[in-house]
Protein backbone atom coordinates (compact mmCIF):
# COMPACT_ATOMS: atom_id res chain seq x y z
CA UNK A 1 0.00 0.00 0.00
CA UNK A 2 2.68 2.41 1.07
CA UNK A 3 4.90 1.65 -1.89
CA UNK A 4 1.94 2.02 -4.18
CA UNK A 5 1.13 5.41 -2.71
CA UNK A 6 4.69 6.64 -3.09
CA UNK A 7 4.79 5.41 -6.66
CA UNK A 8 1.55 7.17 -7.42
CA UNK A 9 2.73 10.40 -5.80
CA UNK A 10 5.99 10.33 -7.72
CA UNK A 11 4.18 9.67 -10.93
CA UNK A 12 1.72 12.45 -10.21
CA UNK A 13 4.54 14.89 -9.57
CA UNK A 14 6.39 13.85 -12.68
CA UNK A 15 3.72 13.51 -15.30
CA UNK A 16 0.93 15.75 -14.09
CA UNK A 17 -0.91 17.09 -17.10
CA UNK A 18 -3.07 19.56 -15.22
CA UNK A 19 -4.27 20.15 -11.70
CA UNK A 20 -7.66 18.45 -11.56
CA UNK A 21 -10.90 20.03 -10.43
CA UNK A 22 -11.62 19.36 -6.76
CA UNK A 23 -14.83 19.02 -4.87
CA UNK A 24 -15.65 22.12 -2.88
CA UNK A 25 -14.85 20.40 0.35
CA UNK A 26 -12.48 17.51 0.27
CA UNK A 27 -14.62 14.94 2.09
CA UNK A 28 -11.46 12.90 2.45
CA UNK A 29 -10.05 15.62 4.73
CA UNK A 30 -13.26 16.18 6.63
CA UNK A 31 -14.69 12.71 7.31
CA UNK A 32 -13.12 9.48 8.45
CA UNK A 33 -13.69 6.55 6.11
CA UNK A 34 -12.90 4.27 9.08
CA UNK A 35 -15.79 5.64 11.15
CA UNK A 36 -19.07 4.64 9.50
CA UNK A 37 -22.23 5.77 11.25
CA UNK A 38 -25.82 4.61 10.95
CA UNK A 39 -28.26 7.12 12.43
CA UNK A 40 -31.99 6.73 12.94
CA UNK A 41 -33.66 9.81 14.29
CA UNK A 42 -35.90 12.78 13.65
CA UNK A 43 -35.09 16.02 11.84
CA UNK A 44 -34.88 18.97 14.25
CA UNK A 45 -33.45 21.65 11.97
CA UNK A 46 -32.69 22.12 8.28
CA UNK A 47 -29.98 24.59 7.40
CA UNK A 48 -30.25 25.32 3.69
CA UNK A 49 -26.98 27.20 3.59
CA UNK A 50 -23.93 27.36 1.39
CA UNK A 51 -21.50 25.93 0.73
CA UNK A 52 -23.38 22.84 1.94
CA UNK A 53 -26.71 22.15 3.62
CA UNK A 54 -26.80 20.65 7.12
CA UNK A 55 -29.66 18.54 8.42
CA UNK A 56 -29.83 18.24 12.21
CA UNK A 57 -31.03 14.88 13.48
CA UNK A 58 -31.85 13.85 17.08
CA UNK A 59 -31.04 10.22 17.72
CA UNK A 60 -32.54 8.52 20.76
CA UNK A 61 -30.30 5.94 22.40
CA UNK A 62 -31.51 2.77 24.11
CA UNK A 63 -31.34 4.41 27.56
CA UNK A 64 -33.52 7.30 26.39
CA UNK A 65 -30.69 9.81 26.07
CA UNK A 66 -30.90 11.99 22.95
CA UNK A 67 -27.84 12.72 20.86
CA UNK A 68 -27.93 15.56 18.35
CA UNK A 69 -26.08 14.95 15.09
CA UNK A 70 -25.45 17.27 12.15
CA UNK A 71 -25.50 15.70 8.70
CA UNK A 72 -23.78 17.40 5.78
CA UNK A 73 -25.64 17.39 2.48
CA UNK A 74 -25.13 19.16 -0.83
CA UNK A 75 -25.42 22.76 -1.87
CA UNK A 76 -28.94 24.18 -1.42
CA UNK A 77 -28.95 25.81 -4.85
CA UNK A 78 -29.70 22.63 -6.74
CA UNK A 79 -32.53 21.70 -4.38
CA UNK A 80 -34.15 25.13 -4.46
CA UNK A 81 -34.26 25.12 -8.24
CA UNK A 82 -35.94 21.74 -8.04
CA UNK A 83 -38.61 23.22 -5.84
CA UNK A 84 -37.40 22.13 -2.43
CA UNK A 85 -37.37 24.71 0.35
CA UNK A 86 -36.44 24.55 3.99
CA UNK A 87 -40.10 23.70 4.65
CA UNK A 88 -40.04 20.65 2.41
CA UNK A 89 -38.54 18.48 5.10
CA UNK A 90 -40.90 19.00 8.01
CA UNK A 91 -39.35 19.11 11.45
CA UNK A 92 -39.98 15.82 13.16
CA UNK A 93 -39.59 13.80 9.96
CA UNK A 94 -37.91 10.50 10.76
CA UNK A 95 -34.81 9.77 8.67
CA UNK A 96 -32.17 7.09 8.36
CA UNK A 97 -28.68 8.33 7.58
CA UNK A 98 -25.70 6.35 6.40
CA UNK A 99 -22.44 8.25 6.49
CA UNK A 100 -19.05 8.69 8.07
CA UNK A 101 -18.21 10.69 11.18
CA UNK A 102 -15.98 13.75 11.08
CA UNK A 103 -12.29 13.15 11.71
CA UNK A 104 -12.22 15.37 14.79
CA UNK A 105 -14.78 13.13 16.50
CA UNK A 106 -17.52 15.79 16.70
CA UNK A 107 -21.12 14.71 16.12
CA UNK A 108 -21.09 15.59 12.45
CA UNK A 109 -21.31 13.18 9.53
CA UNK A 110 -21.68 13.24 5.78
CA UNK A 111 -25.13 12.24 4.60
CA UNK A 112 -24.11 10.03 1.76
CA UNK A 113 -27.44 8.23 1.98
CA UNK A 114 -30.47 9.89 3.55
CA UNK A 115 -33.70 7.90 3.42
CA UNK A 116 -37.11 7.90 4.99
CA UNK A 117 -37.98 4.87 7.15
CA UNK A 118 -40.16 3.44 4.35
CA UNK A 119 -37.08 3.20 2.18
CA UNK A 120 -37.82 6.22 0.02
CA UNK A 121 -34.71 8.26 -0.64
CA UNK A 122 -34.89 11.80 0.57
CA UNK A 123 -35.17 14.26 -2.31
CA UNK A 124 -35.06 11.70 -5.06
CA UNK A 125 -37.85 11.51 -7.56
CA UNK A 126 -37.46 15.09 -8.71
CA UNK A 127 -34.74 15.59 -11.25
CA UNK A 128 -33.77 18.62 -13.23
CA UNK A 129 -32.45 22.09 -12.82
CA UNK A 130 -35.02 24.18 -14.64
CA UNK A 131 -33.06 24.10 -17.89
CA UNK A 132 -35.20 23.46 -21.00
CA UNK A 133 -33.60 20.09 -21.63
CA UNK A 134 -34.82 19.03 -18.21
CA UNK A 135 -38.26 20.60 -18.43
CA UNK A 136 -39.23 18.78 -21.60
CA UNK A 137 -38.75 15.44 -19.84
Amino acid sequence: MKIKQIAIMTAAGAVLAAVPAWAHHAFAAEFDAQKPVHLEGVVTQVELINPHSWIHVDVKKGDGAVISWMVEAGSPNVLLRRGFTKNTIALGTPVVVEGFQSKDGSLRANGRDITLPNGQKLFLGSQGTGAPYDEKK
Partner: protein
Protein backbone atom coordinates in the same frame (compact mmCIF):
# COMPACT_ATOMS: atom_id res chain seq x y z
CA UNK B 1 -6.72 8.32 -2.60
CA UNK B 2 -6.95 11.45 -4.69
CA UNK B 3 -3.58 10.81 -6.24
CA UNK B 4 -4.99 7.77 -7.96
CA UNK B 5 -7.51 9.90 -9.82
CA UNK B 6 -4.79 12.37 -10.72
CA UNK B 7 -2.56 9.62 -11.99
CA UNK B 8 -5.21 8.06 -14.15
CA UNK B 9 -6.19 11.45 -15.55
CA UNK B 10 -2.55 12.29 -16.26
CA UNK B 11 -1.82 8.93 -17.81
CA UNK B 12 -4.88 9.22 -20.00
CA UNK B 13 -3.91 12.67 -21.16
CA UNK B 14 -0.37 11.58 -21.91
CA UNK B 15 -0.84 8.24 -23.54
CA UNK B 16 -3.54 9.14 -26.00
CA UNK B 17 -2.17 10.28 -29.30
CA UNK B 18 -3.25 12.80 -31.86
CA UNK B 19 -5.28 11.12 -34.55
CA UNK B 20 -7.37 13.75 -36.22
CA UNK B 21 -6.64 16.68 -38.42
CA UNK B 22 -10.14 18.20 -38.54
CA UNK B 23 -10.42 21.96 -38.35
CA UNK B 24 -12.35 23.65 -35.59
CA UNK B 25 -15.90 23.82 -36.93
CA UNK B 26 -17.52 27.22 -37.30
CA UNK B 27 -20.66 27.61 -35.20
CA UNK B 28 -23.90 28.22 -37.02
CA UNK B 29 -27.39 29.15 -36.01
CA UNK B 30 -29.54 26.18 -35.01
CA UNK B 31 -33.02 27.58 -35.57
CA UNK B 32 -34.73 28.81 -38.73
CA UNK B 33 -37.55 30.89 -37.33
CA UNK B 34 -35.60 32.53 -34.59
CA UNK B 35 -33.91 35.93 -34.67
CA UNK B 36 -31.30 37.19 -32.25
CA UNK B 37 -32.94 39.19 -29.43
CA UNK B 38 -31.34 42.62 -29.04
CA UNK B 39 -30.78 45.21 -26.34
CA UNK B 40 -31.98 48.81 -26.98
CA UNK B 41 -28.54 49.68 -28.41
CA UNK B 42 -28.89 46.91 -30.99
CA UNK B 43 -26.44 44.40 -29.55
CA UNK B 44 -27.37 40.73 -29.13
CA UNK B 45 -29.09 40.28 -25.76
CA UNK B 46 -27.25 37.74 -23.65
CA UNK B 47 -29.11 38.61 -20.47
CA UNK B 48 -30.81 36.08 -18.27
CA UNK B 49 -30.07 32.90 -16.37
CA UNK B 50 -27.98 30.20 -17.96
CA UNK B 51 -26.50 26.83 -17.07
CA UNK B 52 -23.50 25.05 -18.56
CA UNK B 53 -24.31 21.68 -16.91
CA UNK B 54 -23.32 18.90 -19.24
CA UNK B 55 -22.41 15.23 -19.24
CA UNK B 56 -19.80 15.85 -21.95
CA UNK B 57 -16.35 15.38 -20.41
CA UNK B 58 -13.59 17.96 -20.73
CA UNK B 59 -11.37 15.58 -22.69
CA UNK B 60 -12.42 12.96 -25.20
CA UNK B 61 -13.15 9.52 -23.75
CA UNK B 62 -11.26 6.57 -25.27
CA UNK B 63 -14.56 5.19 -26.62
CA UNK B 64 -14.67 8.01 -29.19
CA UNK B 65 -11.05 8.53 -30.20
CA UNK B 66 -11.68 9.95 -33.64
CA UNK B 67 -14.78 12.05 -33.42
CA UNK B 68 -15.86 15.34 -31.88
CA UNK B 69 -19.50 14.31 -32.27
CA UNK B 70 -21.60 11.23 -31.73
CA UNK B 71 -24.94 10.20 -33.14
CA UNK B 72 -28.10 10.67 -31.09
CA UNK B 73 -28.30 6.88 -30.69
CA UNK B 74 -24.73 6.74 -29.36
CA UNK B 75 -25.48 9.71 -27.13
CA UNK B 76 -28.59 8.06 -25.70
CA UNK B 77 -26.54 5.01 -24.74
CA UNK B 78 -23.85 7.20 -23.16
CA UNK B 79 -26.39 9.30 -21.24
CA UNK B 80 -28.21 6.22 -19.95
CA UNK B 81 -24.94 4.62 -18.90
CA UNK B 82 -24.06 7.75 -16.91
CA UNK B 83 -27.45 7.98 -15.25
CA UNK B 84 -27.36 4.23 -14.43
CA UNK B 85 -23.93 4.70 -12.84
CA UNK B 86 -25.22 7.53 -10.67
CA UNK B 87 -28.15 5.36 -9.60
CA UNK B 88 -25.93 2.34 -8.98
CA UNK B 89 -23.49 4.13 -6.68
CA UNK B 90 -25.86 6.64 -5.08
CA UNK B 91 -25.57 6.38 -1.30
CA UNK B 92 -22.76 3.81 -1.41
CA UNK B 93 -19.50 4.26 0.50
CA UNK B 94 -17.58 2.65 -2.37
CA UNK B 95 -18.56 5.25 -4.95
CA UNK B 96 -16.11 5.80 -7.79
CA UNK B 97 -18.01 8.89 -8.95
CA UNK B 98 -17.75 10.56 -5.54
CA UNK B 99 -14.13 9.44 -5.27
CA UNK B 100 -13.34 11.31 -8.47
CA UNK B 101 -14.43 14.42 -6.59
CA UNK B 102 -12.25 13.75 -3.55
CA UNK B 103 -14.57 11.81 -1.23
CA UNK B 104 -11.77 9.48 -0.14
CA UNK B 105 -14.09 6.50 0.31
CA UNK B 106 -16.75 8.36 2.27
CA UNK B 107 -19.22 8.36 -0.60
CA UNK B 108 -20.20 12.03 -0.79
CA UNK B 109 -23.92 12.71 -0.51
CA UNK B 110 -27.13 11.78 -2.31
CA UNK B 111 -27.00 12.20 -6.09
CA UNK B 112 -29.94 14.63 -5.89
CA UNK B 113 -27.51 17.23 -4.60
CA UNK B 114 -25.52 17.22 -7.80
CA UNK B 115 -26.25 18.94 -11.06
CA UNK B 116 -24.31 17.70 -14.04
CA UNK B 117 -27.36 17.83 -16.24
CA UNK B 118 -28.84 14.87 -18.01
CA UNK B 119 -27.46 15.26 -21.51
CA UNK B 120 -24.29 15.60 -23.49
CA UNK B 121 -23.57 19.05 -24.89
CA UNK B 122 -25.29 19.67 -28.23
CA UNK B 123 -23.75 22.06 -30.78
CA UNK B 124 -25.03 22.54 -34.33
CA UNK B 125 -27.51 19.76 -33.69
CA UNK B 126 -24.91 17.15 -32.80
CA UNK B 127 -23.93 15.75 -29.41
CA UNK B 128 -20.32 16.39 -28.41
CA UNK B 129 -17.80 13.84 -27.12
CA UNK B 130 -15.50 16.40 -25.46
CA UNK B 131 -15.45 20.04 -24.48
CA UNK B 132 -11.96 20.38 -25.98
CA UNK B 133 -12.36 20.98 -29.73
CA UNK B 134 -8.80 21.98 -30.54
CA UNK B 135 -6.42 20.14 -30.62
CA UNK B 136 -8.67 17.99 -32.81
CA UNK B 137 -7.93 14.88 -30.72
CA UNK B 138 -9.99 16.43 -27.92
CA UNK B 139 -7.16 16.56 -25.40
CA UNK B 140 -5.44 19.41 -23.60
CA UNK B 141 -1.95 19.80 -25.15
CA UNK B 142 1.06 18.52 -23.16
CA UNK B 143 2.23 20.93 -20.48
CA UNK B 144 5.73 22.37 -20.20
CA UNK B 145 8.44 21.06 -17.86
CA UNK B 146 8.17 24.28 -15.87
CA UNK B 147 4.43 23.76 -15.36
CA UNK B 148 4.99 20.13 -14.35
CA UNK B 149 7.41 21.20 -11.63
CA UNK B 150 5.13 24.02 -10.48
CA UNK B 151 2.02 21.85 -10.35
CA UNK B 152 3.88 18.94 -8.74
CA UNK B 153 4.95 21.19 -5.85
CA UNK B 154 1.39 22.47 -5.53
CA UNK B 155 -0.11 18.98 -5.45
CA UNK B 156 2.37 17.82 -2.81
CA UNK B 157 1.24 20.63 -0.50
CA UNK B 158 -2.44 19.78 -0.86
CA UNK B 159 -2.75 17.67 2.28
CA UNK B 160 -1.44 20.28 4.71
CA UNK B 161 -3.94 21.58 7.26
CA UNK B 162 -1.85 23.62 9.71
CA UNK B 163 -3.89 26.72 9.07
CA UNK B 164 -6.84 27.93 7.04
CA UNK B 165 -4.34 29.32 4.56
CA UNK B 166 -3.08 25.82 3.75
CA UNK B 167 -6.44 24.80 2.38
CA UNK B 168 -7.69 25.09 -1.17
CA UNK B 169 -9.12 28.45 -2.25
CA UNK B 170 -12.57 26.93 -2.75
CA UNK B 171 -12.62 25.41 0.75
CA UNK B 172 -11.83 28.89 2.02
CA UNK B 173 -14.82 30.34 0.14
CA UNK B 174 -12.51 32.59 -1.90
CA UNK B 175 -13.18 31.41 -5.44
CA UNK B 176 -15.36 28.83 -7.11
CA UNK B 177 -13.95 25.33 -7.37
CA UNK B 178 -13.61 23.69 -10.72
CA UNK B 179 -13.19 27.05 -12.45
CA UNK B 180 -16.90 27.88 -12.51
CA UNK B 181 -15.95 31.55 -12.90
CA UNK B 182 -12.80 30.76 -14.88
CA UNK B 183 -12.21 32.09 -17.31
CA UNK B 184 -12.81 29.71 -18.98
CA UNK B 185 -16.12 29.15 -17.18
CA UNK B 186 -16.27 25.41 -16.67
CA UNK B 187 -19.18 23.14 -15.81
CA UNK B 188 -18.58 21.21 -12.62
CA UNK B 189 -20.36 18.89 -10.17
CA UNK B 190 -23.11 21.35 -9.20
CA UNK B 191 -24.07 25.05 -9.06
CA UNK B 192 -23.49 25.49 -12.78
CA UNK B 193 -25.68 28.56 -12.99
CA UNK B 194 -24.92 32.02 -14.26
CA UNK B 195 -26.69 35.34 -14.67
CA UNK B 196 -25.65 37.81 -17.36
CA UNK B 197 -26.52 41.51 -17.15
CA UNK B 198 -25.60 43.90 -19.97
CA UNK B 199 -25.18 47.63 -20.46
CA UNK B 200 -23.45 49.29 -23.43
CA UNK B 201 -20.33 49.75 -21.25
CA UNK B 202 -20.27 46.60 -19.16
CA UNK B 203 -21.20 42.94 -19.22
CA UNK B 204 -21.58 41.41 -15.77
CA UNK B 205 -21.48 37.66 -15.32
CA UNK B 206 -22.66 36.50 -11.91
CA UNK B 207 -21.51 32.99 -11.11
CA UNK B 208 -23.57 30.97 -8.67
CA UNK B 209 -20.65 28.99 -7.29
CA UNK B 210 -19.14 30.99 -4.40
CA UNK B 211 -20.94 34.08 -5.70
CA UNK B 212 -18.12 35.05 -8.03
CA UNK B 213 -18.77 38.02 -10.31
CA UNK B 214 -16.94 38.81 -13.52
CA UNK B 215 -17.05 42.36 -14.80
CA UNK B 216 -16.26 42.75 -18.49
CA UNK B 217 -15.41 46.34 -19.49
CA UNK B 218 -16.53 46.93 -23.07
CA UNK B 219 -14.23 48.60 -25.62
CA UNK B 220 -11.65 49.24 -22.89
CA UNK B 221 -7.93 48.57 -22.68
CA UNK B 222 -6.31 46.18 -20.21
CA UNK B 223 -5.18 47.37 -16.79
CA UNK B 224 -1.39 47.76 -16.40
CA UNK B 225 0.50 44.46 -15.93
CA UNK B 226 1.01 45.24 -12.24
CA UNK B 227 -2.74 44.92 -11.62
CA UNK B 228 -3.52 41.25 -10.97
CA UNK B 229 -6.94 39.76 -10.21
CA UNK B 230 -8.42 36.37 -9.29
CA UNK B 231 -10.34 36.07 -12.57
CA UNK B 232 -8.00 38.33 -14.50
CA UNK B 233 -8.87 41.60 -16.20
CA UNK B 234 -11.61 41.11 -18.77
CA UNK B 235 -12.29 43.52 -21.63
CA UNK B 236 -14.86 42.98 -24.35
CA UNK B 237 -15.92 44.02 -27.82
CA UNK B 238 -18.45 42.89 -30.42
CA UNK B 239 -17.33 41.12 -33.58
CA UNK B 240 -20.57 41.16 -35.54
CA UNK B 241 -23.06 39.45 -33.25
CA UNK B 242 -20.42 37.70 -31.17
CA UNK B 243 -19.24 39.08 -27.82
CA UNK B 244 -15.48 38.60 -27.60
CA UNK B 245 -13.96 38.80 -24.11
CA UNK B 246 -10.20 39.04 -23.72
CA UNK B 247 -8.75 38.24 -20.29
CA UNK B 248 -5.20 38.73 -19.00
CA UNK B 249 -3.66 39.96 -15.70
CA UNK B 250 -4.45 36.83 -13.67
CA UNK B 251 -2.94 36.61 -10.20
CA UNK B 252 -1.88 33.05 -10.99
CA UNK B 253 -3.57 31.59 -7.92
CA UNK B 254 -6.87 30.54 -9.43
CA UNK B 255 -5.94 29.98 -13.07
CA UNK B 256 -7.39 27.10 -14.99
CA UNK B 257 -6.08 23.90 -13.40
CA UNK B 258 -2.56 25.04 -12.74
CA UNK B 259 -2.23 27.61 -15.54
CA UNK B 260 0.20 30.45 -14.83
CA UNK B 261 -0.43 34.13 -14.22
CA UNK B 262 0.46 34.70 -17.87
CA UNK B 263 -2.65 32.84 -19.03
CA UNK B 264 -4.48 34.66 -21.83
CA UNK B 265 -8.08 33.62 -22.45
CA UNK B 266 -10.23 34.72 -25.38
CA UNK B 267 -13.91 33.84 -24.96
CA UNK B 268 -16.63 34.12 -27.59
CA UNK B 269 -20.34 34.30 -26.69
CA UNK B 270 -22.81 33.84 -29.52
CA UNK B 271 -26.62 33.55 -29.29
CA UNK B 272 -27.46 30.54 -31.45
CA UNK B 273 -31.05 29.96 -30.39
CA UNK B 274 -33.88 31.05 -28.11
CA UNK B 275 -32.39 28.98 -25.28
CA UNK B 276 -28.73 28.87 -26.19
CA UNK B 277 -25.50 30.79 -26.05
CA UNK B 278 -22.63 29.03 -27.78
CA UNK B 279 -19.50 29.56 -25.69
CA UNK B 280 -15.98 29.13 -26.97
CA UNK B 281 -12.74 29.81 -25.08
CA UNK B 282 -9.14 29.67 -26.31
CA UNK B 283 -6.40 29.37 -23.71
CA UNK B 284 -2.88 30.54 -24.48
CA UNK B 285 -0.22 30.20 -21.79
CA UNK B 286 3.29 29.40 -23.05
CA UNK B 287 4.42 28.98 -19.42
CA UNK B 288 2.01 26.07 -19.06
CA UNK B 289 0.82 24.67 -22.39
CA UNK B 290 2.98 23.74 -25.35
CA UNK B 291 0.38 25.27 -27.64
CA UNK B 292 -2.94 27.15 -27.40
CA UNK B 293 -6.12 25.09 -27.13
CA UNK B 294 -9.85 25.64 -27.40
CA UNK B 295 -13.01 24.59 -25.56
CA UNK B 296 -16.57 24.87 -26.82
CA UNK B 297 -19.95 24.13 -25.26
CA UNK B 298 -23.41 25.71 -24.93
CA UNK B 299 -24.92 27.69 -22.10
CA UNK B 300 -28.60 26.75 -21.91
CA UNK B 301 -31.37 29.00 -20.56
CA UNK B 302 -32.16 28.18 -16.97
CA UNK B 303 -34.58 29.09 -14.23
CA UNK B 304 -33.61 31.91 -11.89
CA UNK B 305 -32.96 33.48 -9.59
CA UNK B 306 -29.55 32.54 -8.31
CA UNK B 307 -29.57 31.69 -4.63
CA UNK B 308 -27.25 33.74 -2.46
CA UNK B 309 -23.97 31.99 -1.77
CA UNK B 310 -23.04 33.23 1.70
CA UNK B 311 -20.21 30.75 1.95
CA UNK B 312 -18.29 31.64 5.12
CA UNK B 313 -21.35 31.57 7.34
CA UNK B 314 -22.02 27.90 6.78
CA UNK B 315 -18.49 26.64 6.37
CA UNK B 316 -18.56 24.00 9.14
CA UNK B 317 -16.38 21.88 6.90
CA UNK B 318 -13.32 24.05 7.56
CA UNK B 319 -13.73 23.43 11.31
CA UNK B 320 -13.96 19.70 10.66
CA UNK B 321 -10.92 19.66 8.38
CA UNK B 322 -8.62 21.60 10.73
CA UNK B 323 -10.06 19.84 13.81
CA UNK B 324 -9.51 16.49 12.15
CA UNK B 325 -5.88 17.33 11.44
CA UNK B 326 -5.31 18.34 15.10
CA UNK B 327 -6.91 15.11 16.29
CA UNK B 328 -4.65 13.12 13.99
CA UNK B 329 -1.62 14.92 15.42
CA UNK B 330 -2.69 14.14 18.98
CA UNK B 331 -3.14 10.50 18.13
CA UNK B 332 0.29 10.39 16.53
CA UNK B 333 1.82 11.89 19.70
CA UNK B 334 0.06 9.28 21.83
CA UNK B 335 1.46 6.51 19.65
CA UNK B 336 4.97 7.95 20.07
CA UNK B 337 4.60 8.07 23.85
CA UNK B 338 3.51 4.42 23.90
CA UNK B 339 6.69 3.46 22.08
Amino acid sequence: MNYRAILSASALALTLTVVLSAQTPAPKSTSKNWTVPRTPDGKPDLQGFWTNSTLTPLERPPAFPNSLTMTDAEAAVWEKKTSDEWAKYDGKAANPIADRWGSGGTGGYNAAFTDQGTELARVDGLKRTSLVIDPPDGHIPPITAEAKARNGAMMRSFNKADSVKDRALSERCLVSFGNSAGPPMMPTLYNNDYQIVQTPDTVLILVEMVHDARIVRMNATHAPPSVRQWFGDSIGHWEGDTLVVDTTNFNGLAGFRGASRNLHVVERFQRTGANTILYRATLDDPDTYTKPWTLEFPFVASKGPIYEYACHEGNYAMIDILGGARKAEQEKEKQKEKK
